[in-house]
Subunit: 367 residues, 2 copies
């Protein structure tokens, strides 16, 4: 068991906080924070803002100027490979850093323990594992993608307090208030891609963009992923005229050319009951560097995702209405006829947003 | 505007807290608390524990022994009439109390301002209105009954996170955990009556009693009210053998005698589409001194209550499950086909109970 002091915890907590500054911009890279401490005093701080730009360690070293003899607290193992920037291990050694405290090992195969091994081989003491759970949770999407070749899948849905999203007549409207909608903008901005189905596109012609200007300044528009088995996407769809990239997943790509002319990318997947293979969509998105996917879909597609056990987290915005029994449930699951078909969740957060309630829950997987 | 000091607020807050000691036992009387203060020091405290026993003021005076020159903080206007106990106004004057601070006037017609008037006529200064909102909220059932001849109606329902109570196949089971079930015991104990429908009786044969021993010590069993239009109540029903009283509301009382033999009381109401008039049930319960009614009903009866706008508060215990679309909604409202039929609520409390979430919400009435 590696020993960590209370001061170690204070500095690592600060490093984690710094890391989260990259929430809307670091992707596809992980968020990383670094704090340099000498004689009990913080002499430099840094975080990774954007892929291609300096890593957290480099920023912290630059802020410190002279970091000789310092202890470096880093939320993720320093890289040892030449990527778009030179290896951080070399920079830490060159700067004369005396000791390293690392929260979690980098799961990325080019690093994955090699950074720590390299530093130890060069004689630098490295302690690993302080707040590793928080560090992995912060980068859950990155860890998920690197370890499983799938993104972390979060779904978002707005319902009445009795779980309805529309009347059976089809009648529906925005039912949640402004704070909930602002919150959705944050979820979008923190996601590498936003996925929806062609049904929602045809019904609502959504933009799927981050419109909140205070957020938009820090990130590029998330990729838009559309599940559209028969490629019914209208050529005049709103999203095709907006900044950002649109990828359309289909099984029948007969009409692909006109959409490609509009700038959309068309990807054909294997067919499952004539529908797009959702598992294949996830693999393709991971290949594109998507760590975190936000699914904003109607009941049919949402039901397919949940029934296939492809969802990790559910965020429900519950408006304080009772809509009754002549309604459309938040997800369609026609094959679930027994109580044992239901899915178990674990609530991770419940809070009020204006008049609404936001419930965040993780799906509990049989291990 | 009457002036109150910070000390006044401290003592009244204490009196409100004392009042709530009568939560499970004061009914049909209101909960009342009293604090006697002299020279900045609390010299006596009391609350009303049980109908027929001394009122809060009398208990506080007894605790003080000598209360001459004291200021009395009382959460509800002192009674001026001879009820089961002598008037408190006289006791306060006889004890030489110098001043009175009252949270709310008693809505009960025999008091309703007369207590305050009597004390002022006798030369005692009385300040009224400190924390009146909290005082009325504490006794919302009592105020409701006295002012409208109906009880405060609270409904309780346990659902999945997507609003379902059972599979369409009828399959259902306890879905919430122990902390939620213990909480329901508290709701029951704080209610003068618990109401359910014959459907629930036939399906589950419930006892509708307070079984938690720590609570039971303080209160009598709530009245059991059963909505049973055609009087189908089984003579062997569990609840007919348990302590406490059962009242069955019907429109067809042909088979009343056998049930009366079993100790049940049968009440015939006007028929509304051949069903029991729920408004009449509420009036009858108020006449019986029920301040707070807890409705624990299945989707059909719950839907009727909500659609008739007879419910004040909804308590939802949400289990962290997704049950899907082939389910029974928490309330049946076949006549609600438009979005405008939905009912608006205002969330008053959201908290986690073990793995579950409890949402408490008030129905917002068009004024």
């Amino acid at each position: 068991m590696t020993a960590f002091s209370k001061d170690d915890a204070v500095h690592m907590a600060r490093a984690l906080r710094l890391a989260s500054n990259g929430k809307y911009s670091a992707r596809p890279n992980p968020m990383v924070g670094c704090v340099l401490v000498r004689g009990g005093e913080v002499i430099g701080e840094g975080w990774h803002a954007k892929a291609g730009e300096p890593h957290a360690e480099i920023n912290a070293l630059a802020a410190a100027g002279d970091a000789r003899g310092a202890t470096a607290y880093i939320t993720l193992e320093p890289c040892v490979h030449q990527g778009r920037t030179p290896p951080c291990t070399d920079a830490l050694l060159a700067a004369g850093v005396a000791e390293l405290v690392v929260a979690a090992e980098d799961p990325y195969s080019s690093v994955n323990g090699k950074g720590i091994a390299r530093l130890r081989a060069a004689g630098m003491p490295v302690r690993v594992g302080l707040m590793d759970k928080a560090a992995k949770e912060l980068n859950r999407g990155f860890f998920r993608r690197v370890q499983t070749s799938k993104p972390f899948v979060r779904t978002k849905v707005a319902t009445s307090i009795d779980g309805a999203v529309a009347m059976r007549s089809g009648e529906s409207q925005w039912i949640t208030g402004v704070p909930a909608r602002v919150d959705v903008q944050r979820l979008r901005a923190a996601s590498g891609a936003i996925l929806t189905g062609i049904g929602t596109v045809l019904a609502d012609d959504p933009s799927l963009t981050v419109r909140d200007k205070s957020i938009r300044a820090h990130s590029e528009q998330p990729l838009r992923a559309i599940v559209d088995s028969k490629l019914r996407m209208p050529h005049a769809a709103n999203m095709l005229c907006l900044p950002g990239q649109t990828v359309i997943y289909c099984v029948d790509d007969t009409h692909r050319e006109a959409l490609q002319m509009k700038g959309a990318e068309i990807v054909r997947t294997a067919a499952e009951d004539e529908l797009v293979s959702l598992a294949e969509v996830l693999t393709d998105l991971a290949r594109r560097g998507i760590n975190d996917l936000l699914v904003e879909a109607g009941p049919a597609l949402l039901g397919s995702f949940v029934a296939a056990d492809l969802v990790d987290e559910l965020v429900i915005y519950q408006a304080p209405h009772i809509m009754g029994s002549e309604t459309v449930a938040m997800l369609q699951t026609p094959a679930w006829t027994r109580l044992s078909d239901r899915r178990q969740l674990e609530i991770s957060d419940v809070r009020r947003l204006g008049a609404d309630t936001r419930i965040t829950a993780r799906f509990v997987r049989a291990c």
